[in-house]
């Protein structure tokens, strides 16, 4: 099941560049929440702070409180434990090139020492079914490399890989920006189904996509969160002038 996310006074830096300033936000469980805003506004940095991927860059740091379920991720836990509970799908599909489709999906479990092979088969099948890829790859699971799939299939493979470790939250950082419209619509359908089991946070450049998949939307600008509200409110009747200017295409 998904859990809620509570963010208080989150600040983040790259070197001396203050990329996120005083973010406060509550993301409800089992909902899809979209983050929109122009390039460089901090929305990617924000999701990377939710699973502590931000700090894998040696010059980056973050302060503040992020509660995922009842876990305070900056105080109570190690980054590797958090990343098992908070899965991530990246902008460009990044399957492990030397691994088969099966091994790509099983990678998160295998590399963390899980070795119950019978159970692994079930998890791989379930994850690929959940990411709507099973029917397309079930005959080549161990024969084909993850890199041999099309871009859209690769991205669904990456979703399956993230789901296989059974996270509570799924972060998606512009998951469709490198994909064609057909693949994009498949992934959007998927987000609808996955909401039942996971809390989803999706960064997107595409405002129509935010409107289609998310109940709530946050608008980021210059490292701050300008507005956060129900998606239909943001797109029809935003409270902040800057949100309206962005939505109507006056900048960004």
């Amino acid at each position: 099941m998904g859990v809620s996310i509570e963010v208080q006074n989150l600040n983040a830096w790259y070197g001396t560049n203050h990329t996120l300033q005083d973010i406060n936000l509550n993301i409800p469980a089992n909902h899809a929440t979209a983050l929109i805003g122009p390039s460089g506004c901090g929305k990617s940095t924000f999701v990377r702070c939710l699973n502590r991927m931000h700090e894998t860059n040696p010059i980056a740091r973050a302060t503040g409180t992020v509660r995922i379920g009842d876990l305070d991720i900056y105080a109570d836990a190690k980054p590797v434990e958090i990343r098992r509970r908070v899965g991530m799908v990246f902008q460009r599909p990044n399957p492990f090139p030397t691994m088969s489709i099966y091994d790509n999906v099983a990678a998160g479990l295998k590399l963390n020492g899980y070795s119950d092979h019978k159970h692994l088969d079930e998890i791989v099948e379930k994850s690929l079914k959940n990411s709507a890829l099973w029917d397309e790859v079930k005959d080549d699971l161990r024969k084909k490399s993850g890199a041999s799939l099309s871009g859209g299939q690769q991205q669904r493979l990456c979703i399956a890989r993230a789901l296989a470790v059974d996270p509570e939250v799924l972060l998606m950082d512009e998951p469709c920006s490198a994909l064609d419209p057909v693949s994009t619509s498949k992934i959007e359908d998927l987000i609808f189904q996955l909401k039942a089991q996971y809390t989803i946070v999706i960064v997107t450049h595409n405002m129509q996509q935010a409107a289609r998949v998310a109940e709530n939307t946050g608008f980021f600008l210059n490292g701050r969160m300008v507005e956060y509200d129900a998606t239909h409110k943001i797109f029809t009747n935003p409270s902040d002038k800057r949100t309206e200017d962005y939505i109507t295409g006056r900048f960004g």
Partner: protein
């Protein structure tokens, strides 16, 4: 007017294209010709001395004809085995450190600089070094010291392999896309595990090529063996005894006053090259069997 200027430009481009293609072909031929000449020469001069005895017998006593280089072939295999056991793990380990754990640190810069210098050290100096470390010292409770031995020759060759393996491993690891590392970390895989199981595995074809280059290079080295493995006219596979090696035997026979031995030297050189090609091909075949569809 504009049309003719366009035509002129097109012609110029076609000419440039043609010229560059021809130059590339010429360069390719210049690379292949010396290799082909060497191979042809070796076959021409060496093939006639190759027979069953060459692969099964030890060198004939001075002045007698016949005999073979069986002991040198086995000796080279022993020396290269010792060298690989020393050179490949240390080389790969230091390369992984340079690319993954020590990036930007002073230690890493020092190691990289040392490796580059080591790569330029003449091979005979490596031999003298191994001599000073292993052959010269006499320490009563370390029986493998204090005399010429296969071990000292293997150490000399192994040290020579380290810089090549180290630097090529580093280069290959740096070519692994950042996205692949992020994918592993994003799954909650600890960094050390991600490096070993994902990054190194992704780069492994290149790393293996680096190891093969280093192996092939030291396989033909003579100078580092002169004061270490020393050579041996008889059968020996002991790491504690002087051992024969193909390059050493070729060196000795090539300087021989006997026509028969000089012919044997040519045959030895041919066998050395063929064995290196076989060893490299075998490793490539074995390591490429696990590759999946859709990967090059």
């Amino acid at each position: 007017m504009s049309t003719s200027a366009f035509e002129l430009r097109s012609k110029f481009r076609a000419l440039t294209d043609h010229t560059v293609t021809v130059l590339a072909v010429v360069a390719t031929i210049l690379v292949i010709v010396p290799l082909a000449v060497i191979f042809a020469e070796l076959i021409y001069k060496g093939l006639s001395s190759l027979n069953w005895d060459f692969f099964t017998k030890v060198p004939a006593p001075e002045g007698e004809t016949g005999g073979g280089m069986a002991n040198a072939i086995v000796g080279s295999a022993v020396l290269l085995g010792v060298a690989s056991v020393i050179g490949i793990p240390i080389g790969i380990g230091s390369g992984v450190y340079l690319a993954e754990f020590g990036r930007g640190t002073k230690l890493a810069n020092a190691v990289r600089f040392t490796a580059d210098v080591l790569n330029g050290v003449p091979s005979i100096v490596m031999g003298v070094t191994a001599y000073a470390l292993i052959v010269a010292p006499h320490i009563s409770w370390l029986p493998f010291l204090g005399h010429f031995s296969a071990l000292s020759g293997g150490v000399a060759l192994g040290i020579m392999m380290i810089p090549t393996v180290c630097r090529s491993t580093e280069e290959m690891l740096l070519m692994v896309p950042h996205a692949v590392r992020e994918a592993a970390l994003g799954l909650g895989v600890p960094n050390w595990r991600s490096v070993l199981s994902i990054t190194v595995k992704t780069a492994s074809p290149g790393i293996i090529t680096g190891c093969m280059l280093a192996f092939a290079r030291v396989a033909g080295e003579t100078a580092p063996l002169l004061f270490t493995a020393l050579g041996n006219q008889f059968w020996s596979t002991s790491l504690n005894e002087p051992i024969a090696a193909l390059p050493l035997q070729i060196f000795i026979y090539a300087n021989s006053p006997y026509e028969d031995q000089r012919r044997m030297a040519w045959a030895g050189a041919l066998v050395l090259i063929v064995l290196i090609v076989l060893a490299v091909s075998l490793v490539r075949y074995v390591t490429s069997r696990g590759v999946l569809k859709g990967n090059s």
